[in-house]
């Protein structure tokens, strides 16, 4: 049913509809409202789940790892430093191939301390072996959360659902919350094939010697690559239930004859979509990168055919290197016949607004005689001491 809901409340409702059995989280802005809402649902008896209060994000991640390994459907959420504090456990959850769903309410990383949005937190753990799906709207956050449990459980891999903090989590807008029947039909009860069970004892998390470690990494990498099919299938099958798609691995929207594309991730896509109506010329395609891991290199190559220029806009960077997504897109396009020129920008760092006017500027940047390998937009050098410019 369509309701006017704060993003966090809608995400909590979506989680509850998935019938998780164990929840554990430590509050951190802007994730807090999600777990507060879940705690209320548990306290009010609307959600039958064990809500485990912990003293840190490290423990929250450990609790859901243990719970899922023992066969419970488990969920946690965090942001920024909370994600970083979880990092050791995040690698363990993934390496042990235990299905867990985590919402990352994206927030910039300290230092300098910022309470505002960017995506440096989830991007910093992109290599932890989790599936990472990014949401462009609160509706996608709801639908992706539901899909995430099915993907996690079918692939036996954890899924991180990344939602721009504040921009989505704190915005109230009309959001369709599916019915319990719809979710139940889509998401069967959780059965973990390697469940810890005293009647069938197994041991997990053992020391792996050099004779086997590479094989374990190979298998994990392959599992993530194979997950592409499940991510697409979950989106397709959920559309059969509710009539909406969230964009599979990568979705493309715009006129077929457009020669310019903008590839980006997260909530700025809506802003760019509105902007394109205000600035219809030149025509441009919007490429929505939904799955950062697994990285949809094939889909990107396919989507870039016929483009002369591709602008990659991201909300994080690899300091000392440049763009994270930009580098991976260039790598995906390397060796293609007539690939588009790739212009790479980071923007929206630490809560800097990305207004509609960013769209014509990106299109203008695509006309530059030499493509921008990487730049942070709108850096005001006069704010810096001479030596830092």
């Amino acid at each position: 049913m369509l309701e006017a809901l704060e993003g966090s409340a809608a995400i909590a409702k979506a989680v509850a509809l998935c019938r998780p059995q164990v929840l554990s989280a430590y509050p951190i802005t802007p994730q807090t409202h999600i777990v507060e809402n879940l705690a209320s649902l548990v306290a009010d008896g609307q959600l039958r789940a064990e809500m485990v209060s912990v003293e840190s994000e490290f423990s929250a991640a450990s609790v859901v790892l243990g719970a899922a390994a023992c066969g419970s459907r488990a969920y946690t959420a965090s942001s920024a430093q909370g994600i970083l504090l979880m990092t050791e456990v995040l690698y363990n959850v993934a390496g042990l191939r235990v299905p867990v769903v985590l919402t990352c309410a994206n927030r910039a990383i300290s230092a300098p301390v910022s309470a505002w949005n960017d995506q440096q937190d989830s991007m910093s753990v992109r290599d932890a072996g989790w599936i990472q799906l990014y949401c462009a709207s609160n509706q996608e956050a709801v639908d992706t959360t539901i899909q995430a449990f099915r993907i996690a459980e079918r692939c036996e891999l954890p899924v991180m659902v990344c939602v721009d903090g504040y921009i989505l989590t704190h915005t109230l807008e009309p959001i369709d919350i599916p019915t319990q029947e719809q979710v139940d039909a889509f998401l069967p009860p959780y059965r973990f094939s390697r469940m810890l069970d005293p009647l069938r004892p197994i041991s997990i998390g053992n020391l792996v010697t050099p004779e086997y470690y590479a094989e374990a990494r190979y298998a994990h990498h392959q599992a993530l690559l194979r997950a592409k099919d499940e991510i697409e299938a979950a989106d397709r099958d959920w559309a059969k239930v509710c009539g909406r798609r969230s964009g599979g691995l990568l979705s493309v929207e715009g006129p077929d004859d457009a020669r310019i594309g903008i590839l980006t991730i997260g909530s700025v896509l809506g802003t760019l979509a509105d902007a394109r109506e205000e600035y219809p010329d030149p025509p441009a395609k919007l490429l929505k990168l939904r799955s950062m891991r697994p990285f949809p290199a094939d889909a990107i190559r396919h989507a870039c055919r016929g483009l002369s220029d591709l602008v990659v806009l991201e909300r994080a960077l690899s300091m000392g290197s440049g763009g994270i997504i930009g580098a991976e897109v260039r790598s995906a396009l390397f060796g293609e016949p007539n690939p588009p020129r790739v212009h790479n920008f980071a923007a929206g760092l630490g809560g800097r607004d990305m207004p509609l006017e960013i769209y014509p500027r990106l299109l203008k940047a695509a006309e530059a005689p030499e493509p921008t390998r990487f730049a942070i937009m709108d850096v005001e050098l006069q704010k810096l001491p001479e030596t830092e410019r």
Binding site: S137, Y166, T171, E232, G248, D274, L356
Partner: protein, 207 residues
Amino acid sequence: MEQTLTARALHPVRLTEIRIHGRGGQGNVVAAYILAQAAFEQGRFAQAFPSFGPERRGAPVSSYVRLADRAIQRHCQVRNPDFLIIQSQGLLHVAGLTAGLKPQGGILINSARDLPELEAEAADALESRNVIVLGADALATGILGKPLPNTALLAAFLALTELLPLNALEKALARRFKGETLERNLALVRAAACEVPAGLWREVAHA
């Protein structure tokens, strides 16, 4: 790869944007959420959000509402609001209070004082602006027993702009309050709406 085909809209989305100024802890975000909820109850499209960042009790804060004739996709900040709702006259001295307000835009202020007095005190913010003053604290104290200005300000705002009928606001309040609290809030809606010239800002709101 998925190909999403959405019909191109015939015109860019038409928006009315409102910025609400208050102090942390005074229900600034709640006011924005109630207004967006009212639009939703009326079948309109709406979006509401706070000024992002840490929450600080007592500090000047703002929240934002967008109302539209179709789905709002953008998630950027409101830079050029059509209207300001100011929950407390004490905020008139906050720098940048009217920043970005469209030239023809309206300002609704909660104050016990009259307009000439406020203009004399805060000429920078109010000079040559469309300003309406509402004694929302007194109205609320009389009906709710507490100086909670939100309901009165929202009712007056809808009466001035006719953006939504008052019963949309009443439905939004009914989602949040029950029993006597709701009844008193509904009485406050009717009382506050009569305090301002009906439809005075209609043209600006429907431009």
